[in-house]
C-alpha cells in the first residue's frame, strides 16, 4: 500500500512536527524546524529551475535576499505590514527576475551558472555598500513580526505555523508545475532544446517563466524570513547560501521534489547533528556530501523515482491514463 504523499506531508508538517516541538518545548529546536521549512521553499524553487529546467543556478541568495530586504526596508521605513511586504517582494522579484531571466536564458550550461554567480556577487556587494538603503553591514533590526488577520504571530510556535503554511503552498506550486504537462515540457526543453522547439514549444518563454517563478517563490520566502527572524544582514545572503541550496538539491535528487525536501533537511540538520564533532564538523559534513554524490549521483530520491511516484497523484493533469497500471 502506498501512502498518499500530499496529505501525509501536510499531516507531518502541521500536526506531527508541532506536537513534537511542543513536547520538547525548546525555542532553539523550534527555530531550527522553521529554518528547515524555509530552506525547503528555497530548494523546491531551485530544483524547478536547476533540476526540471536544467539551468544550473547560483542566485538563490539574490531573490531570497531581495525579498527579505524589500520587506525590511518597507516595514521599518514605511511601516507597512506583512501582507503588503510579501506582495511587494513578489512584485519586485517578478520584475527583477523577468529582466535577469530574459537576459540569462540565452545562455546555457556553465555560462548560465557563471551569469547567476556574477549576479549573486553583485547583489551581495550592492547590499554591503548601498548604505542609505540597506544600512550596509549593520543590516536591519527591529523588523515587526508577522501579522495576519489582525493577529500577531510571535513566539517560535506561531512563527512555525505561518512558515509551515507558506512552505506547503510553495510545495504545492512546485508539485503542480513539476508533475504535470508543464513539467514534461520543461524537461523536454532541458534534454534537447532544438528538438523541443521543433515540436512547437516556445523554449525561451518556458525558461523565462520558470526563472520568474523561482525568483518569486524565493522572494516571498525572503520576506517571510525577514518578518519571522526580525533581523536581516548581508551575511544571510552571501553566495555560499546559494551554493548550500544547490548542494541540498544535488544530494537530495536533482529534479525531484521529495529530493528537495530531503536535501533541505540534511543541509540544515546535519551541521547541527554534527555539533558534537566540534572542529571536525565542516570536514565530516564535506565528506558526507562528497560520498553521497559519488555513490548516489542521482541523489537520495531520484527524479525518475519521483516522477513515477507522482504520476498517479496527478492523473489527467499529467496527460496519463489515470492509473491504468
Amino acid at each position: 500500500m502506498r501512502i498518499p504523499i500530499l496529505p501525509a506531508t501536510a499531516l507531518v508538517v502541521l500536526v506531527v512536527v508541532p506536537a513534537l516541538l511542543v513536547v520538547v518545548d525548546s525555542a532553539y529546536i523550534g527555530r531550527l524546524a522553521q529554518l528547515v521549512l524555509i530552506t525547503i521553499v528555497l530548494t523546491s524553487a531551485l530544483n524547478l529551475l536547476t533540476g526540471t529546467a536544467g539551468l544550473l543556478s547560483l542566485d538563490a541568495a539574490v531573490y531570497y535576499g531581495l525579498g527579505a530586504y524589500t520587506a525590511a526596508i518597507l516595514s521599518v521605513n514605511a511601516g507597512t505590514g506583512f501582507v503588503v511586504d510579501v506582495l511587494a517582494a513578489i512584485a519586485i522579484c517578478a520584475v527583477f527576475g523577468f529582466i535577469a531571466g530574459y537576459a540569462f536564458v540565452r545562455l546555457t550550461s556553465i555560462f548560465f551558472a557563471v551569469a547567476t554567480m556574477a549576479l549573486a556577487i553583485s547583489f551581495h556587494t550592492t547590499v554591503l555598500n548601498w548604505g542609505e538603503l540597506t544600512r550596509g553591514p549593520m543590516g536591519y533590526r527591529g523588523i515587526p513580526p508577522v501579522v495576519l488577520f489582525g493577529h500577531e504571530f510571535s513566539g517560535w510556535l506561531q512563527t512555525y505555523f505561518v512558515t509551515a503554511a507558506f512552505c506547503l503552498a510553495a510545495l504545492l506550486v512546485a508539485h503542480r508545475l513539476m508533475h504535470s504537462f508543464y513539467g514534461n515540457a520543461v524537461r523536454a526543453v532541458r534534454e534537447d532544446e532544438e528538438c523541443a522547439r521543433s515540436l512547437g514549444l516556445s523554449t525561451r518563454r518556458l525558461r523565462v517563466e520558470v526563472y520568474v517563478v523561482h525568483a518569486v517563490v524565493m522572494g516571498a520566502a525572503g520576506a517571510l524570513y525577514a518578518h519571522s527572524n526580525q533581523f536581516i544582514g548581508p551575511d544571510n545572503f552571501v553566495m555560499l547560501e546559494s551554493a548550500l541550496v544547490l548542494i541540498a538539491i544535488v544530494v537530495g535528487g536533482i529534479g525531484s521534489l521529495p529530493g528537495a525536501v530531503i536535501g533541505a533537511l540534511l543541509i540544515v540538520l546535519k551541521p547541527e547533528l554534527l555539533r558534537e564533532v566540534g572542529h571536525l564538523r565542516a570536514l565530516v559534513f564535506g565528506l558526507v556530501l562528497f560520498l553521497s554524490i559519488l555513490f548516489l549521483p542521482r541523489g537520495l530520491f531520484s527524479e525518475g523515482r519521483a516522477l513515477a511516484r507522482f504520476r498517479r497523484t496527478m492523473r489527467g493533469a499529467w496527460a496519463h491514463r489515470g492509473g491504468a497500471r
Partner: protein, 254 residues
C-alpha cells in the same frame, strides 16, 4: 489539383561562398507523398532545415498553408501544422515514452503556466494531451512501452517514437529526414508500410531519403536535388528515365 499545401519559391542558402541550396522551387499538394532525393552533399538537409525553420534561407520564400514561414521560429512553424523528424535520433532519453510522445501534443495545445496551477483546468488540458498521445502511441505499436524511459527502447523503436511524437502534434504536413537510415531490411519494410498508411489517412508527407528502392516504390512524386539545384521533378517512373537524374544520382549504369 488542389492548391499546394507547401510552396517553396526561389529558395537559396549560402554558406560563405558555397551555394548549399540554389534557387529551388517546388510545391507539395495536400495528400501527396513527395520524395526528396539527391546524392550526398546535394543540400537535402539544408533545404529541409530552411523549410522547417531550423535554418534561415538567404533568399526565397516558403509558404505553408497560407503562412509565410521562411526564417520564422520553428516552434511557430510546428504549431501551424508542419512537423519534422531528425536524421540523427533525438528522443528525450531520461523521460518516459509516453512523456516523450506527449511533447508534440503539448506543443500544439500549449503550456500555460497559469492553467498548470489549477487542478480542473490542468486536468482538462492534460486529458486532451493524453488523447492525442495515446493515438500516436497506438499507431506506432508503442502503447506497451508507455512507462519505460525512452532510452531503453531499441533503435527501430526510437525511430518510431520520433514519428509518433511528431504525429501527436497532429500536423498537416510531416517531413521525415532519412527515416530509414540505420534500419535493417525488415524494419525498412515496416517503415514503408507505416508511411503509406499515414498517407492513406490523408496526411501529406515529404520524405527525404537515401533508400532509393523505398522512395521509388512508395512516393507519388519525386524531386531531385544535385549540388543545391533542383534537377528533376516527376513521378518515380519519369525520374527513373530522366537522363540528368541518372547521371547525377543513379550513376551511369546505362
Amino acid at each position: 489539383m488542389s492548391a499546394p499545401l507547401l510552396e517553396v519559391r526561389g529558395l537559396s542558402k549560402r554558406f560563405a561562398g558555397l551555394r548549399a541550396v540554389d534557387d529551388v522551387s517546388f510545391d507539395v499538394v495536400p495528400g501527396e507523398l513527395l520524395g526528396l532525393i539527391g546524392p550526398n552533399g546535394a543540400g537535402k538537409t539544408t533545404l529541409f532545415n530552411c523549410v522547417t525553420g531550423a535554418a534561415a534561407p538567404t533568399a526565397g520564400s516558403v509558404t505553408f498553408d497560407g503562412h509565410a514561414i521562411a526564417g520564422r521560429d520553428p516552434a511557430r512553424i510546428a504549431r501551424v501544422g508542419l512537423a519534422r523528424t531528425w536524421q540523427n535520433l533525438r528522443v528525450f532519453p531520461d523521460i518516459t515514452v509516453f512523456d516523450n510522445v506527449s511533447i508534440g501534443a503539448i506543443g500544439r495545445i500549449g503550456t500555460s503556466l497559469w492553467e498548470a496551477l489549477w487542478p480542473g483546468r490542468a486536468r482538462r488540458r492534460g486529458e486532451a494531451i493524453a488523447e492525442a498521445t495515446l493515438q500516436a502511441l497506438a499507431a506506432f505499436d508503442l502503447a506497451g512501452y508507455a512507462d519505460q524511459p525512452a532510452g531503453n527502447l531499441s533503435y527501430g523503436q526510437k525511430k518510431n517514437l520520433e514519428m509518433a511524437r511528431a504525429l501527436s502534434l497532429q500536423p498537416k504536413l510531416l517531413m521525415l529526414d532519412e527515416p530509414a537510415a540505420g534500419l535493417n531490411n525488415t524494419e525498412t519494410a515496416e517503415l514503408a508500410e507505416r508511411i503509406v498508411a499515414l498517407r492513406e489517412r490523408g496526411l501529406t508527407i515529404v520524405l527525404v531519403e537515401h533508400d532509393m528502392p523505398m522512395v521509388m516504390r512508395i512516393c507519388d512524386r519525386i524531386v531531385v536535388l544535385d549540388s543545391g539545384r533542383l534537377i528533376g521533378d516527376g513521378t518515380p517512373a519519369e525520374i527513373r528515365r530522366d537522363p540528368k537524374v541518372r547521371a547525377a544520382y543513379l550513376g551511369d549504369e546505362s
